[in-house]
Symmetry: C2
Subunit: 307 residues, 2 copies
């Protein structure tokens, strides 16, 4: 049998990746409260917002208000998306104590997705990220690279592992310190996900690779298990499954943090997360959105609580 | 990395285990049509009904009508539940060509569950099954033993692997030919499921063990992957996730066959099943029940079809 890591770090991307893809707008104060509930539940990494033009992503127009509104907790890493220099400058327009700990640049392993999503080729996106990465690192800020569509693409279909390796190499080349292997449309299955991770390992250590799986086809936890079996111990997920799937309206998107934590706890893997407090955080934000949490664990445990 | 079987056989338990736990009654003709759609989609084993007192399970009162109404297809194995001699006699009260290919006796690894579900201890249930197994095998009918609550029990909580081994040994002792390792309430995670299977392997070959996982906590596919990694190549699932969870009203029960098939096809494992035809069979029975299929794969693919 495979051997698994003894501890796992979860990066909750709900406040950014999740809420960015929810239709219902949420006030900045609710986003701040969500981040604080997540850190109270034991999350040590939280993707809080995006410094991108409100013309493109109106849901994140309150980025500065959210980033600077959080009562920070020692030992927690707060990250924000900064697609360009303007975004980075905006993220740093505050006293140093309120800077993000990490910035994220968002690329794609699919040329078609890169073109449709950020209006440029993969190579051009890297050219655009390079000065952002350099400026951030010069200020002592960590840099993570999101690699989207590493298994499948809504426009190109299946993505070859070589394309993932190509993107990972470009990311490494400009100074990105760690990367997410993301199955953006949730079509991946264990062996395909393992091949995408393998291709990434040509450029990054296993500790620098995080798994980011969507549950659109219900495969996220088996993909998580497959990645764990390779030694991956960083994973991204979204409390209450925030986010949905922009490429399949009505379908499930980001895997719910609750479901990932249940899997890990059941396997005796330390996450440092209080599942009950996490479920409550998911209920809190779901109520603000006027819907149920998209998490089977949340549902089953709440039914049990109601007894 | 683990090595996986090259082919998997799925036993669809939707017409029996699924419909038995659905509130909305379904006419016998619809059940027959469901079985026929499943075999047309490539299913080679189908659990079609239960010969149990209609006083206890009114949903299965039409058992003979369903069993004898099916236009059988060569190479397909039709199984029925027969909890006692009366049930077996009723199942065989027809010309030989209309007999079931296999009967199923339903036990539990939890004493409390055995008491609450079938009103006797585990040892007493085995005594009750023994003559049924003997009579069936004397007629050349195969016998499968369902082992429920092999990971967790709604009354006892976690179930030790030793209890699973104990039940498996008793089943073997009375001539049961193969067994299901069932996570009846869906609380299992990969390592726990693997320990239940290991305990069963003390008495049965891997080819005689099937995995039966519920998706109440969203863990069924990761448990399936864990079992595949041990060489298990028989799995039970329910088209459209028929059945729900009787121990957590409103929660998910049997894992959807669609979701299992997607996982296996994505891993290059042969199932012989046409996923599109299977999805249509799930839509057919869900419409009869007045609800949506409980399958993320079905939902994502139908959204894609609608384009």
């Amino acid at each position: 049998m495979a051997s698994y890591p003894s501890r796992v770090k979860i990066i909750d991307v709900g406040p950014r990746d999740g809420l960015q893809n929810e239709k219902q707008p949420v006030p900045a104060a609710v986003k701040v409260e969500l981040v604080q509930r997540l850190q109270a539940a034991g999350l040590k990494e939280i993707e809080v917002t995006s410094f991108v033009s409100p013309k493109w992503v109106p849901q994140m127009a309150d980025n500065a208000q959210v980033l600077h509104g959080i009562e920070r907790q020692a030992g927690v890493r707060y990250s924000v998306l900064t697609p360009n220099m303007k975004g980075l400058e905006a993220a740093l327009a505050a006293p140093r104590a309120e800077w993000p700990d990490e910035i994220v640049v968002f690329g794609a392993a699919s040329e078609a997705f890169s073109q449709k999503n950020i209006n440029c080729s993969i190579a051009e996106s890297i050219e655009r990220f390079a000065p952002v990465v350099e400026a951030a690192r010069a200020q002592g800020i960590a840099v993570r690279g999101a690699m989207s569509c590493t298994v499948g693409c809504p426009y190109e279909g299946e993505i070859a592992p070589e394309k993932v390796g190509y993107l990972a190499g470009l990311m490494k080349g400009i100074g990105v310190q760690r990367v997410d292997v993301a199955d953006t449309i949730g079509v991946g299955t264990p062996l395909k996900v393992q091949r995408a991770i393998e291709a990434t390992q040509a450029h990054f250590d296993i500790a620098e690779i995080s798994g980011h799986f969507h549950d659109t086809y219900g495969q996220a936890l088996s993909n998580t298990l497959a990645a764990l079996g390779m030694g991956v111990w960083n994973f991204q997920s979204s409390v209450a499954g925030l986010g949905g799937c922009p490429y399949a309206k009505g379908a499930t998107g980001n895997v719910a943090t609750e479901d990932v934590v249940y899997l890990l706890q059941g396997m005796g893997i330390d996450t440092g997360i209080d599942l009950d407090a996490l479920i409550d955080a998911g209920v809190y934000i779901s109520q603000a959105l006027g819907r149920e949490p998209h998490s089977r664990v949340s549902k089953a445990i709440r039914i049990k609580r109601a007894g």
